[in-house]
């Protein structure tokens, strides 16, 4: 009995050494974690930038199209709004992996900057989801808030800056951070375009050691730890927001 346990332990230890220590394979895992976080953060920022712009275009159009005076301005706005709509539909209606492959093999076929292409693909994808989060955030603020601002003499932009945006950020922050957490997991397909993220690192180790358990379960554990950490942060923030008001 004791022997069996001891044997099992030494087996596990051997597995661990083989997959992570030998040939400094842990460095590959570390690179994977770094790249996963890098892609997530940069693509996340990009997603927010794209999302804000698209959300403003979409909701301004929805709210003002009836009162806008016809003319060149309105025509241009209609086109810009149309582009935004197509973007949202296509990105949210097709698989992320295919978007990534299309970026890599078609749009940037001549570039070999894998990392940049991956970040771009994830950022553009995330932007579509973030845009809808922001849009519902804008729409959830009552018309009365806008009118109260305008009736005091604030112009459109000032009303957006001082009254609408601060409330919107508060409304969307928790959802936005959850989108960020989802993005962290979604970056695990980066290996399709040979970017060494955490999943791809694990997969490469598995391929050279022929021993799947340690690298796969190990990398899953690292994702889980990261997700739990960020979820904890979001919870903390939510409680802080709720305490200050509403």
């Amino acid at each position: 009995m004791f022997n069996a346990i001891a044997e099992w332990f030494s087996g596990v230890k051997a597995e661990f050494v083989l997959n992570f220590i030998t040939k400094n394979r842990w460095k590959m895992m570390l690179t994977g974690v770094e790249n996963t976080l890098l892609i997530t953060f940069v693509a996340g920022m990009m997603g927010i930038a794209i999302g804000v712009v698209v959300a403003i275009i979409r909701s301004t159009w929805d709210k003002n199209q009836e009162v806008m005076r016809p003319g060149v301005g309105k025509f241009l706005y209609r086109i810009v709004n149309g582009i935004a709509k197509v973007y949202l539909t296509v990105i949210r209606g097709t698989p992320l992996v295919l978007q990534l492959l299309i970026m890599y093999f078609i749009i940037f076929a001549s570039s070999r900057n894998d990392m940049m292409i991956a970040i771009l693909a994830f950022g553009i994808n995330s932007g579509a989801y973030v845009a809808e989060i922001f849009r519902s955030g804008i729409m959830s603020i009552s018309k009365g808030q806008f009118e109260a601002g305008r009736s005091l003499g604030f112009n459109y932009v000032q009303t957006m800056i001082y009254i609408i945006t601060p409330q919107m950020i508060k409304n969307v922050l928790p959802t936005l951070l959850n989108e960020f957490i989802a993005l962290l997991k979604e970056t695990s397909v980066a290996g399709y375009v040979t970017v060494m993220d955490l999943t791809y690192a694990a997969s490469r180790i598995r391929a050279s050691t022929y021993s799947p358990f340690m690298p796969l379960v190990g990398s899953a554990a690292i994702y889980l730890a990261l997700v739990m950490f960020f979820t904890w942060l979001v919870g903390l923030l939510e409680r802080r927001l709720r305490k200050s008001e509403r």
Binding site: R150, S151, L152, E245
Partner: protein
Amino acid sequence: MNADQNNVIIKVENLQKHFNGGDLKALNGVNAEIHKGEVVVVIGPSGSGKSTFLRCLNLLEIPTGGTVTFEGVDITDKKVNINIHRQKMGMVFQQFNLFPHMTVLKNMTVAPTTLLKRSKEEAEKKAFELLKRVNLFDRATAYPHQLSGGQQQRIAIVRALCMDPEVMLFDEPTSALDPEMVGEVLDVMKSLAREGMTMVVVTHEMGFAREVADRVIFMDEGVIVEEGTPDEIFNHPQQQRTKDFLNKVL
């Protein structure tokens, strides 16, 4: 009251507001004058166009026809910077519309400091004076959701007053309030009227209209049917529609 032309602060001529491409005529040729220091109360059945009329006065609703002249300027002219004029027309809404992410004090100072370039100290001094007047001096650091409806509406009134408006527009300021809080808001409005503030008030509070109004306007179906002193409208209405309405509400 004073029909002197020089005292006209708002002049409304042939005001039209059509919705749904003209199918719905919310305002159908309204003419009115508001004089300095006057309290005008607008009454009428639901859907008669009272809110639309009031909201056209500061162009929150863009008229589809006619003009609104404020202090001698036709503010329906597209070349006019409406934001400047709105600073001098305070508005109070049925739903209060305080800014939920700001304290009471910030609600009151954000516009004067941003738009009138007043210093923070100056704006806060004025805010505290006004808060004292409405007995909410101790709530300066509270957030709107921590206040009762009556308190919120009183804050909404003084928030508008912080801009030193020439006119105050009220759209059913007590309709969203629990009955026991109506009095405290009406009291603030009465004291404002006594001090000579020019006020246009849409309300269902006939007691307030009788007591405070210099002039009562009765609207129905997008037009002014009848106007006059409270005595004329409430005790000697001339039009059948006015009589019918008053019979229902009094």
